[in-house]
């Protein structure tokens, strides 16, 4: 069974007098361990799809199941609980809490789980080690570079051992060197930890690290062959 199942999902937005339909009766399966890139021109619904799979937005039609849980039937509170236990979200602009250190930012998701403090500490340290930032644990976001902030964001996304990690343009605000580091990191996490990833990007280069590429246009998907080995 697929980890993520979208069935007949549609989403509409009203923009003044106009109705925009970024997703129109979309059906999609994503299997465990896959690294899927969503690509397409601006405004074609890539981020919308990501938000629906994350449970931070609701479809107007259709159902979304992640690991057997139908997100569309959950209340706002239950969706939050589900996200805490099952989802990691990597934002384009990092979105770290500025008054918390790197360690504390990564620790945040673990505070929502029933973990002992020792277990929590272990997970945070492992997550920071995985992204290579153990030596920056007590730094505040303002003391980190853009690339380092994004790595903290990635650590935060994986610390709770989520079933799926979604990334919305994870390299969108980074320079070329930092972007490459992040790409490598995401590829490594997918391969070594078998983390299922759903990533939105408009960059072909970034999309090349994924095992599956979907082009979204006019509310429909087209799958393109991946060149990743």
């Amino acid at each position: 069974m697929a980890l993520v199942q979208l069935n007949g999902v549609s989403k509409r937005f009203r923009k003044g007098e106009e109705t925009i339909i970024p997703l129109d009766d979309v059906t999609l399966d994503i299997h465990e361990g896959e690294f899927v890139s969503l690509m397409g021109p601006s405004g074609t619904g890539k981020s919308t799809l990501l938000n629906l799979v994350s449970g931070i937005d609701r479809p107007d039609a259709g159902t979304i199941k992640v690991d057997g849980t139908e997100l569309t039937s959950l209340s706002r509170g239950r969706l939050a609980d589900w996200r805490a236990a099952n989802l990691g979200y990597i934002f384009q602009t990092h979105n770290l809490i500025p008054v918390l250190t790197a360690y504390e930012n990564v620790e945040l998701p673990t505070l929502l789980l029933k973990l002992s403090s020792a277990k929590r500490r272990q997970r945070v340290e492992l997550a920071l080690e995985a992204v290579g930032l153990n030596d920056r644990a007590d730094h505040y976001p303002r003391q980190l570079s853009g690339g380092q902030e994004q790595r903290v964001g990635i650590a935060r996304a994986i610390v709770a051992h989520p079933r799926i990690v979604v990334a919305d343009e994870p390299t969108g605000s980074l320079d070329a060197e930092s972007s490459e580091q992040i790409q490598e990191l995401l590829k490594r996490l997918n391969h070594e930890l078998n983390i299922t990833m759903l990533m939105v990007t408009h960059d072909q280069n970034v999309a090349s690290i994924s095992s599956r590429r979907l082009i979204l246009n006019r509310g429909k998907f087209t799958e393109v062959p991946s060149t990743v080995v």
């Binding site: 938000n51 994350s54 931070i56 937005d57 706002r76 509170g77 939050a80 609980d81 589900w82 996200r83 805490a84 236990a85 989802l87 979200y89 934002f91 979105n95 809490i97 945040l108 998701p109 929502l112 935060r156 709770a160």
Partner: protein, 361 residues
């Protein structure tokens, strides 16, 4: 910082108004106010206008239910409302010592009894006028030697200066030989105050001067009736302060939530429940209000404790003093206001459309 200091100032004023009202309540209620009667000249209001025969005391003592009678001559520098009122009570030193809840913090009762122009001064007056033992204090035609400074469990007492009855009666300008302003009547435990009051007036009706006898609390409330009305109006000032704190903290919280709406959306994306977000906002607004409110309350407490403030009129004074109930009320109201101020922004933060909030810069 501005919000905290604004809340502090508003709660400072609130506590001050509260202290005034508590002072009035202390004066007009309680055991002393209820179990003690004041015999005053009928249809007179200002102490200078009430002149009762001193020997009325013997007749009053014969009334059933009366335990003791203290003839008192009252002299004040200002019959009108004033923050710097000086009130002299002239009475027998032994009776003062026996009946008044006074503790000498400096000086001695013996010196007070031995000297005709001796005076014991309430702590508030001593502080306000800078008086010490041995000082000669003169005001109007009255000139006394300070032989004692006292404190009292009844705050209004600390605004008085006690002298011997004879001294005040024979002071130039007072010229009240054989006369007193009022008789203070102490009752036995089982006596009905109103019944005894009525009996006293009946007994004294045949005398040279008709009297009105009332419970001390009622007498003081009547004496201070103008001030009572003003103090009642000041109640609204207290409410205005509460409203000010609420609007200050609510505005700050709303602005803070607006500024950090993206952060709240990130927290919800990570998996923080909406109710928890709301509790975060409520905690923030409560803390803000509590810090400001408690600071203002404590500052008011200190100022009231050491400032010796009082207001008086026609020989009666209201002391402004801090109290535990004032501190607790100030703290409780600060906490409650903080919670109320946080409700709407809390709901806003908890129910924000996550996607739209994440897109905000």
């Amino acid at each position: 910082m501005l919000t905290v200091s604004g809340a502090a100032v508003a709660m400072f004023v609130f506590c001050f108004v509260g202290a005034v009202q508590e002072g009035l309540q202390r004066l007009t209620t309680g055991i002393d106010a209820d179990r003690c009667l004041i015999v005053f000249q009928e249809n007179r209001f200002c102490p200078t206008s009430s002149r009762l025969p001193e020997d009325y005391a013997r007749q009053i003592l014969d009334v059933h239910g009366v335990r003791d009678v203290i003839p008192i001559q009252v002299w004040t520098n200002n019959c009108r409302a004033s923050l710097d009122i000086v009130v002299f009570n002239g009475a027998d030193p032994d009776q003062i010592r026996r009946n008044r809840p006074l503790q000498l913090t400096a000086g001695s009762w013996e010196n007070f009894s031995d000297r005709r122009d001796a005076a014991i001064v309430g702590r508030n007056v001593a502080q306000r006028r800078g008086l010490n033992i041995g000082d000669q204090f003169s005001i109007g035609n009255v000139s006394v030697k300070v032989t004692g400074i006292f404190s009292s469990t009844v705050p209004s007492e600390e605004n008085l200066i006690y002298t011997s009855l004879a001294f005040l009666q024979y002071t130039r300008g007072v010229d009240a030989a054989g006369l007193v302003t009022q008789h203070e009547v102490r009752l036995t435990e089982e006596a009905d105050p109103d019944q005894v009051a009525s009996e006293i007036d009946k007994v004294l009706r045949s005398g040279p001067v008709a009297t009105t006898t009332r419970r001390k609390g009622a007498f003081q409330a009547s004496t201070l009736s103008d001030l009572v009305d003003l103090i009642g109006f000041a109640h609204w000032l207290g409410y205005a302060c509460v409203g000010l704190v609420l609007s200050l903290v609510a505005t700050t919280t709303v602005m803070s939530v607006q500024d950090r709406i993206q952060e709240y959306a990130v927290l919800q994306t990570i998996g923080v429940r909406p109710m928890r977000i709301m509790r975060l906002v409520l905690a923030e607004s409560s803390l803000l209000c509590l810090v400001g409110g408690v600071s203002g309350t404590l500052l008011a407490t200190v100022v009231l404790a050491f400032g010796g403030f009082a207001i008086g009129a026609e020989g009666a004074t209201i002391a402004f003093r801090p109290s535990l109930s004032l501190v607790l009320t100030g703290t409780g109201i600060s906490l409650l206001l903080g919670l109320i101020a946080g409700i709407t922004p809390g709901i806003q933060a908890a129910t924000v459309p996550i996607v739209a909030a994440l897109r905000q810069e």
